[in-house]
Every structure is written in structure tokens, then in C-alpha cells.
Amino acid sequence: MASLREVPCGQTVTVIKICGEGALKRRIMDMGITKGVEIFVRKVAPLGDPVEVKVRGYELSLRKTDAEMIEVK
């Protein structure tokens, strides 16, 4: 079990749990990152943050600190 932050580019993982609460958690879930969904980590921005992932058929960008809240396997 690891956080989305630690997943190297090019891998597909499944979400187990989203930690945290409030606006940020709600936003992450509203954008389609919920329990059981598959996430493909596409790339990291040229400056090293944020990351770009593919989820539910579209491209989403989120910061590494926020990716830490997402537990995946």
C-alpha cells in the first residue's frame, strides 16, 4: 500500500482510500478519484510538480502533496 505520490510514471494503480477531509477531499472525489477507480500516472510537470494522471478517461493534474492523501495499490 502506498500513496499516489510514490507511483512512478507509466503505472496504473487502484485507489483504496482518500484521506483528509473538507474542500480538498471533496474536490478530489468530485473530479472522479473515488475508491476502486483506476488511475494511470502519465507524467510529472517539467519543474517536478504537479503530476498529470488519467482517470475515468480524462486528464487530471494535481499536486504531489495532494496526491499523498490518496492511498493506492
Binding site: 482518500i18 474542500a23 480538498l24 478530489i28 472522479g32 473515488t34 510537470a45 519543474l47 486528464e59 493534474s61
Partner: protein
Amino acid sequence: MPVTIALAGNPNSGKTTMFNALTGSSQRVGNWPGVTVDKKEGRLKKYKDVTIIDLPGIYSLSPYTLEEVISRDYLVNEKPDVIINIVDGSNIERNLYLTTQILDVGIPVVIALNMIDIVNKSGDIIDIKKLSETLSCPVIETSAQKGTGLEALTKKAIELAKAGKKGTFKRQFSKPVELALSNIAELIKNNVPDENLRWYSIKFFERDEKVLERITLSDVIKGKIEQIILACEEELDDNSASIIASESYEYISDVVRSYVKKSRSGTTLSDKIDSIVTSRWLGLPIFAAIMFLVYYVSVSTVGSYVTDFTNDMFVGEWIQAPLANWLTSIGTAEWMIGLIVDGIVGGLGAIIGFLPQMLILFFFLAILEDSGYMARIAFLMDRIFRKVGLSGKSFIPLLIGTGCGVPGIMAARTIEQQNDRRMTIMTTTFMPCGAKLPLIALISSAVFGGTWWVAPSAYFLGIGAVVISGIILKKTKLFMGESSPFVIELPAYHIPMAGNVIRSMFERGSSFVKKAFTVYTLASILVWFGASFGFVNGTFGLVDNLNNSVLHNIGNSLALIFAPLGFGRWETTVASIMGLAAKEQVVGVFGVLTSIGNEDLALEMVDSANVGGLSPIAALFSSGIAAYSFLIFNLLCAPCFAAMNTIRTEMNNWKWTVFAIGYECVFAYVIALIFYQLGTFFSGGSFTAGTAVAFILLAVLLFMLFRPAPKQHDIEKSDSNLSATAGVSE
């Protein structure tokens, strides 16, 4: 029967294109009350009594972002007759998430399954009939871009509106949730409208603050509801809002799995473009090239050409000169000519002078937005800008700000997060704009003999001011209140639609002109009045010489304020005040007030770097340090009236406007004071009270820069006090 249709959908779902296609030229753009979110309204083509309201593009009806709150308040309180929900068929899963929430509200819905041409092209097959049955609302295939399906869509919408039937959609949550929802419904059914009962039950279950605030329930009932929620949360081991979000997506996944057949096409063209445009090695060079192009065309070449043309030729020679001649020929009093030609027309002319350049900038801005690149700019630049409390998208306002602050501030509208946008608006005018260049050149030539470092130092000063202000302000309660999550969609690339680009360009341009005229004209007249009138031999009247003007008196009385900064003379004070009308005026004022005696001559001397000729201006300053301190103050303090007025319209809130401009002035004053006092002290001056004050201010500044950011819970506690005391409430 008049019908109101609300247009709702995700950003990038083609909603703007749809709205334009449905309403044509009958649009009115305004603001939602109290906020700077565009409210667009229009009449449906060929139907006089059908109004279409374009809601902001949103992903959810959660209570956390401004756009979402506006949309749901509108849907629940204003109750449009029917909602057209635009769903991007090529991104159906996430788009349907909002759909389920809209259906919960209980108003009749028609789904416009948009971008159907792209869906067909990619080979995906969507079972419209089944989808419509499952969601119990009509689904119409459309392509807003191609204009297909729109007739059927609006017909269906009007039919539903006239039938006045409520939506019958009811998605099934898991058993524990359904049980909780029906128990809550039982408790609140007397307090909420019947047709929205389902929606309110879900919102109470989610503990939605905005709804809890509005519906007053007895403490007993509140306690019962909390019991119900807690029991459900325990059973499902998650918090209630997350349960709803998760189960909504599970439901949609099932729907999509059953009724959408995806052809397994590999990478799309958009993916291929993106793999180059935001790649590790090419991402930043491509970004730099695009920004250079935007800047070069809109600020350096075409932009400055058209601005000069409108200012000098169009306003100056074609309007002002003939107007003055005509007024003279009919025997108008001299002061009246001055008021009309220089005061009013000159003031209006300055706004018109901005316009062509602004249109060019807005044109590029619209292309960047419409093509999908704007989201990539945020992606590329986020890492740098978030450290100073700005957004990656702040790069564009700051860059444009080096040309002119007005479109720079307006470009901040592309930033979704309110805090980031406000911070950007406050700091954009720290960048030295085109009008500040003559002032920089003046100080550089007159005082520093034209050395190379003055001009670049002005840019570093501007960048430094942005960074320092960002860090300081980010740690204050004003900006810490709500964290702005950076979880953004990177939409597929599109070729920008000419219609959308042109429309957006003119919308932004006209919104500025409309709002700018009054305030700016009034301010120009006041400054003109102060410079042209005064007391000579005890009688008040028109004066030839600024030395006798009202401004002179004001300058004299205010000069003391600037003494600690090293330029406590009335000339420099008057120049700073006149700089508020337009920054390049500072040079002209010096020309008039010194023995040079002429505004144009001084400007010419600056152009040709005539050090000797400018010596009367250099003589105004006691030292190079004092002169540079003057430069610092004038570059950082409140911008010109046009920019200040833009700050007001973009903040759309008087308190924030006053705070922004006040902050800029105080910041400029403090930095100039520290620079002058410490500069004088370290170059051999004696230790004075001023030096002590400068050290104290420096210490305060450093403390505010490096203090640890206050903890989140402290802020939440003080948040309520803040909105009461500082009055900065929404």
C-alpha cells in the same frame, strides 16, 4: 408563457459554444451579485419569451467553490423552468457525475449529449434510449460546434417547461444510505419545499454548511439527524459526503458500463500534442516561445503601434486639435476649452488609447483559453507561483502587466481560485508598465548618467515586490482562510473557434470601457482642475503656471510625508500625484516645474539621454539614493486611475479595492523609506531617528517574510472575527 432555461455543465463541455449558438447576439453579460463571476443571459433565437441563463462551468454542486454555490443557489432558489445539462459525450463518465446532482434538485432536465461528432468519430457507441430511461429524462444528441441537434434540444426543453412536470429521477444509493435519507426526509419535510425534498435530504446527510445555515431546524431534530448520519458513517466506515460522492461515481460507472461501448482507441491526437507541449524537456522552452510571441505582438510591436496611433493621431490630432480650434472659433472661454479638451476628452482618450492593445491581448487570452493551453500554463508554472501564494496562471497577468496594468489585471479573471486571483490583482501593477518607462529613463539619465543597471533594476524591483508581497500576504488571515486546492482538468486540445475568440475579446474590451468611463473621467477632471486653477494675488482663477496652482498648495502640505523617503519637496510630491493620472506624466510635470520649463522638451531630453539638459531635474534630489527612492515609490505605489478602476471592477468589492490600493501605497512607502534611510546611513550618514525607524520596519518586514505560517485551526477560529472586524466578507 415566458420560459426560463438554465444551462448547466462541466467546464470544457462546449457550454459557451452552445450558449452562443442558442442565443446569437442577444446576450447580456453581467456579474452574479457581489462576485466577479460572469452572469450571461440571452434570448433563445426565434423565441422572444424564452430566456436562457448560462450558469458557470462546474464539476459538482458542492458548497466549496464560488461557481458551484452560485449555480446551486440559482437552481434551488430561483427555480428555472427547465435545465439543459450539457454532457460532453467524449468524457461522459465525469460529466454524468454533475448530472446526477442536477437531477436530484427536482427540476425537469434535458440532457444535451454534446460533442456527439467526436464520439461518433472515435467509434464509441452510446445507447441513448437506455441512458434516457435510466436517468428518466430526455437525452438529445448535439454538436454545438456544428450546430446539430439544437432545434430538437430546445423544442424538448420548452415542451418540458410548459408541461411543468417535476423530475422523477431517483437513483438508488446503498441500503444504509437510502435508509438514512428517508429518515432525514421524514424529519425535514415540513421545513423544505416538497419538490426539493430529495435534494435537501442528501444535503443534510452530507452536512452541507450552506444548507444548514439556511434551513433552521430545532436542536432536537438536528440531534436526530446527526444520530442518523453517524450510524450510517459507522456502518460504511467513511464520512457522509465521501459516501455520497463514492456511490454517485459507482452508480455512473455502472450506467456507463451498460450503455456506452468504448472503442479501444489508443492515444488521441490531443495526447500526442500534449506529450510534446508539456514534456520534461520541451515544455518550458515551448512555453517561453508562446509567451514571447504573445508579448512581442501585443506589447512590443503591433500593440504599441496601435496605442501610439490612437493616443497621438486619433485622439490628439483628429479629435483634440480640431475640437480646440472649433471651440476657439466660436469664442469659448479658455478655461472651458482646457476643461473639455484636456480634462474630459484627454481623459476619455486615455481609455480609448488602451483599447486596441487590450483587444489584441484579449484575443490571445481567448485563444489560450479556448485551445486548452491555459490549463497547461497552470500545470507548468504552478510549482514556482504557489510558493508565493499565486497561481500558475498568474504568470500571464504579470507578463501583460509589464505592457499595461489594465489588461494585466483583467487577465486575472482566468484564475478560478478567489484568493489567487485577488493576490494577482494586488501585485500585477508592481511590474513596471510601459508608462513607467519614461520615468525610469528620466531617473537613469538625469541622476545616474544613463548607467545600464537602472532599467533592469526596475524589473527586479517589480518581481521582488510581487514575491515579497505574495509571501507576506499568504501568511495573513485574509489569504489563509480557505486553501485553494489545485486539482484541475487538463482538457483535450481544441482548435479555437473564431466566434468564441472574437466574442470573448469584445466582451472583455467593452466591459472595461463601460465601467471605466465615469470614474476615470472624473479623476482626470480633478487632476486637471488642480493643475490649472489656483490663487493669484488673492483671487481664485485659471493660472498659467503650476507654481500657483492648487496642486502646488497640496504638494506643499503633503511634502512633509515624503521627507523620510528623501524627496520632501513640493515638486516631487506634485509629480507623484500627477502620476496617478498617468505614470508618464511624472516626467512632463518635472519638465514644467523646473527651469527646463516645458513638458515636451523634458521628454525629448529623456529620449536622447541628454544628461546635461536634465540637470535641473537632477537638482531636485539631494542624492542618488533619494532619487532612486523616489523611483521606488512611484513604481510601486498606487497605479494610475485606469488601473485603480480596473482593480475596483475586478475585485467587485470596495473593501478589497481599498485594501489592495492601500497595501500598494504602504508597501511602496515602507520599501522606499528603508532604502533611503539605510542607504544614506551606510553611505556615511549619521544615525538619525529615521535610521532607527528604517531598521524597525526592516525587522518587521523580515519577520512577516520568515515567520512560520499560522496553523490552520487558528485561522478557522479567527475567521469569523475577521469578517466581522475587517469587514472583508463575501
